[in-house]
């Protein structure tokens, strides 16, 4: 699926549909960049999206004053209430309505206030959005739909403001699930998601909204979907993760370095369809793999990665695939530090895997 141009760089397939959507990458490096945080990067991406496509809409609960995380500030003032508007409190309605908009050729960017609240919309996403193109024989599609939701632990969120539901959606063929790790990634990935001709669920790590600050180019740029990125080179063990968990994993990698263990860290970025080739190439190099995510370990997306890697790299593996994930309990309130896959847990697992 990924073509290579003469530079050997991967290039996405440009699809010339009626909206001339393109998934080709743009040069990230040109132009000026400013140091901003995650919610500002997402805000910029939304501004660009609405500017470049007159049929783009942003809607959700409380988006018009800027949203509870300020991701949508300034949009209503700039683009008007007809394009940026609040919906009543009905997630199922919001997503279903978004599918309808997308089916009629608009770009619908729906916000679900917290990923924990996405479940009423689960039916619409799984049964409608994922199957629309398939069952209409490509007469209709809801590719213009992008659902954004803040996910993940935030320190004090408790059961219903901290969940990571990505695994549920990864089980559905027909949609894409994308999770950025930082402001610069978020802006590029979000613009790619919005312009991708498939429905996408975009989970934003809410913990990083204010905490993560990075130089983000001010112009319009896109980052390719379904391409994982090796963010740290290593030779002893491959670590795979996404979102906020990567910063924890990176700290573990730095600690492990002191013990002489060279860790390769991969950011999956797109969970489905995920970039098996990059991960496989890395595992062939190192022979060991560890996956980490905040969601509970049983049935989490780490299980899929683990099974796939074992299928393709069984003889190369030096140790079992390790998963350092959340515990199999509902996301706790006071016990959050014990539940989370912390740096120390990851470090222990790295050592155990390397010394297997």
């Amino acid at each position: 699926m990924a073509l290579r141009n003469i530079m050997g760089k991967r290039v996405g397939i440009g699809l010339m549909g009626s909206r001339a959507l393109s998934t080709a990458t743009c040069d990230v490096e040109s132009g000026s960049a400013k140091s901003i945080n995650l919610y500002s990067a997402i805000n910029q991406a939304l501004h660009v999206a609405l500017e470049t496509d007159p049929r783009a809409f942003v809607f959700g609960e409380d988006v018009s004053f800027g949203g509870v995380f300020r991701c949508t500030t300034g949009l209503a003032d700039r683009f008007g209430k007809a394009r940026v508007f609040n919906t009543p409190l009905c997630e199922q309605g919001i997503v279903g309505f978004g599918i309808g908009l997308a089916a009629m050729g608009n770009r619908a960017i729906a916000e679900i206030q917290f990923a924990d609240y996405i479940y009423p919309a689960f039916d619409q996403i799984v049964n409608e959005a994922a199957k629309f193109r398939y069952r209409s024989g490509n007469q209709f599609n809801c590719g213009g739909l992008t659902i954004r939701a803040p996910y993940g632990a935030v320190g004090h969120g408790g059961h219903y403001h901290s969940q990571s539901p990505e695994a549920f959606f990864c089980h559905v063929p027909g949609i894409k699930v994308v999770i950025p790790r930082s402001p610069r990634q978020a802006k590029g990935l979000l613009l790619s998601c919005i312009r991708d001709p498939n429905p996408v669920v975009f989970f934003e790590p809410k913990w990083l909204y204010r905490l993560a600050v990075e130089e983000v180019p001010e112009h319009d740029y896109m980052l390719p979907l379904s391409e994982a990125e090796v963010i740290r080179q290593g030779s002893d063990i491959t670590l795979v993760g996404w979102g906020a968990q990567l910063s924890i994993m990176e700290q573990a990698c730095i600690e492990a370095e002191k013990d002489g263990i060279s860790c390769e860290l991969i950011d999956l970025k797109t969970l489905i369809p995920w970039d098996k080739e990059t991960v496989e190439a890395s595992v062939r190099k190192t022979g060991r793999v560890l996956i980490s995510h905040e969601a509970p370990v049983t049935g989490g997306f780490g299980a899929e990665i683990s099974a796939s890697i074992v299928e393709c790299c069984f003889l190369r593996l030096e140790a079992p695939v390790a998963r350092v994930c959340g515990l199999d309990t509902p996301f706790p309130l006071v016990f959050e530090p014990f539940y989370m896959p912390t740096k120390n847990k990851i470090l222990d697992a790295i050592k155990a895997t390397v010394n297997y």
């Binding site: 004053f65 009543p88 409190l89 009905c90 609240y117 408790g158 309990t329 309130l333 006071v334």
Partner: protein, 427 residues
Amino acid sequence: MSTAFSAAKFSTQPFSTISHDSPLVFAKPTSQFFGSTRKLRLTSSSKFNLSRRSGTVVAVSDYVKQKTSKSTTSLLITKEEGLELYEDMVFGRAFEDMCAQMYYRGKMFGFVHLYNGQEAVSTGFIKLLKQQDSVVSTYRDHVHALSKGVPARAVMSELFGKTTGCCRGQGGSMHMFSREHNLLGGFAFIGEGIPIATGAAFTSKYKREVLKEADCDHVTLAFFGDGTCNNGQFFECLNMAALWKLPIVFVVENNLWAIGMSHSRATSDPQIYKKGPAFGMPGIHVDGMDVLKVREVAKEAIGRARRGEGPTLVECETYRFRGHSLADPDELRDPAEKDHYAARDPIRALKKYLIENSLASEAELKAIDKKIDEVVEDAVEFADESPIPARSQLLENVFADPRGFGIGPDGRYRCEDPKFTEGTARV
């Protein structure tokens, strides 16, 4: 399922024949949506078995004006009731203010939603319930828990995340549960509690009709907000409750705002009470800042449910004085609107009523204030001194088997066997 409860068996008037052209709501709305000083009327008809007055519930202020003599027999409440209501409202207010203080001191964390200003609804309804009646609430549930009888110590400890909390520290601010007081929770997710309340009401009806526990007239109250009235779960449950004539009262605490979304801009028809008759139950609007009016309406609605006449939708127009949660800067609401409602503070209004009608003296009310302050202080001290839950509690109660050790050869949970060691579970 409706055959088990077919009209012929228990009810003398089949409810399903309600016609939509005689809506069971009161007079057509005036243009002024804020501030209901209207008279509240239940359309009286023989269908409803209204045993007491002809059906006109008059606004408290009107009532007081009509009285020339101050005889207590024609007042809406007795002295004892008045003091009970006052105490409950002051308790709610003082507790919430203390929560805010504790939050800003870092003693509790997470998302905390305070109830200041809405006390009349909680007190007006819950004080009419028995212990076996159930209450289902939202994330704004501290005061519902207190009114229902959950001790302040248990609620405060729960907020601090301690083992002595009503849910052993697992739930936090938004998930107050109490089996003893039949408080079925605290729900972070709007609308999720309503189907649960519907199920609880069904149980009560089942016990009465099928299991023949004739004196089981337990009622369930479901509290939720204006934003929830646009959610699918709400409509589904109105339908089910009316279809099966469940003993439930749906209480809408319409405080006009859902975080930052104004009710009038989020709802096609902002008059929520009208949604009741659409499903075949009476819909009533009441001034939620006046505890006596709320109480009168609550008596009727709860009475209906107890007599087996089915559900009622009550819309209480109320207001929250603070922001949506303690993290909400509350910049969107118009100060004039806030002032309008602050002037109608339910506690102040009740105090005035009690004093003007010689039901209580200033000194008595002050004594209550002081007593409540002491109770709340004691609750904080208790919560402070309580222990934090042990780490092993994290894995408990995921399934019925409390610690996941399985069932032993004697058929009981292994963890209950004192000879079974604890060392195997690892966190």
